[in-house]
Symmetry: C2
Amino acid sequence: MSEYPSILLEQAVNQMASLPGVGRRTALRLVLHLLRQKEQDVEAFSGSFLRLKKEVVYCRECHNISDSELCPICASTRRDHSTICVVENVQDVMSIENTGQYNGVYHVLGGIISPMEGVGPKDIEIDSLIDRISRGDISEIILALPTTMEGDTTNFYIYRRLQNAGAEIKISQIARGVAVGNQLEYTDEITLGRSIINRTEFKG
Amino acid sequence: MSEYPSILLEQAVNQMASLPGVGRRTALRLVLHLLRQKEQDVEAFSGSFLRLKKEVVYCRECHNISDSELCPICASTRRDHSTICVVENVQDVMSIENTGQYNGVYHVLGGIISPMEGVGPKDIEIDSLIDRISRGDISEIILALPTTMEGDTTNFYIYRRLQNAGAEIKISQIARGVAVGNQLEYTDEITLGRSIINRTEFKG
């Protein structure tokens, strides 16, 4: 006999436990929580994911998730369209937007180059980035990819592609250094070393 | 402008974050994971909860979640139907079944008496328990409710109801004591005190 008193319950728990980081015990708790809700609330819950999957659009310019052909950021006339910040995914756009420090536009790669996971340049939105830059009027590319080996590889690949394309634009990357509020003694050696090499002028 | 680049995304995140213990950041991660799955997989995910909500049945005897009018445990001829273990919810049935130490049947209250949360005796399956016992052939009731004030209150209420009904059956409760593998010095005083009062004969 199954561990579960109901096959329907077991199937729902299996589905919930398919989410990353959700174990079977947590999945059971979440499913039983849903079961205590009204039917229309469960309909709204279930429907929201299916509707997103079926109706989602990716912005034709930056490839961010969008409700229309052009996302709100790319459609805005108040943003600086000559600066493109290259990020890995949707969350990164939201994180940078939350800082309130950036007024340019984005380019969402939808991944980074990772030979280990079989992700090559053709699997992510690099061609469309080069194409977008070659269409002109871009003055700066800010590479804001993860500070990992995969991120570095992707940064370097994009840099080379832009050189080959003969694009004469400024290419920068986000600063790497000691996080604000951190103690030096708890900062890893590579980060601390870089923060000394890439020191900036002190403006007292 | 909304924090999210898409209203559909925001709605899906809101729904995911409505689950207990799921924060907005985790919800976003889970929703984007779903978005990377095939449409038929998202359909299976969403459909499983709605199907459970619409088609679930509660066993007419023990009120456990079931696929049919009588749950597999109540329908089994290999279980001892004269012993009823009273539990708060579905998870408790599964936990006790997992021990492999119990061969009787269950009664799922669907909650415990909690004046703080406005849950009274009429809100849970107590009447049906008394009715089930009065129909006869029950020799023992095992109270396996949480060892909290609410659990104690519910235990006492059921005990009194059975006395009033003139039922002459054995009423027991699960043992409370030092958990197996625990150090005495880290066991709370009430539990340790009870474990001395309710000491059991040592069979060497």
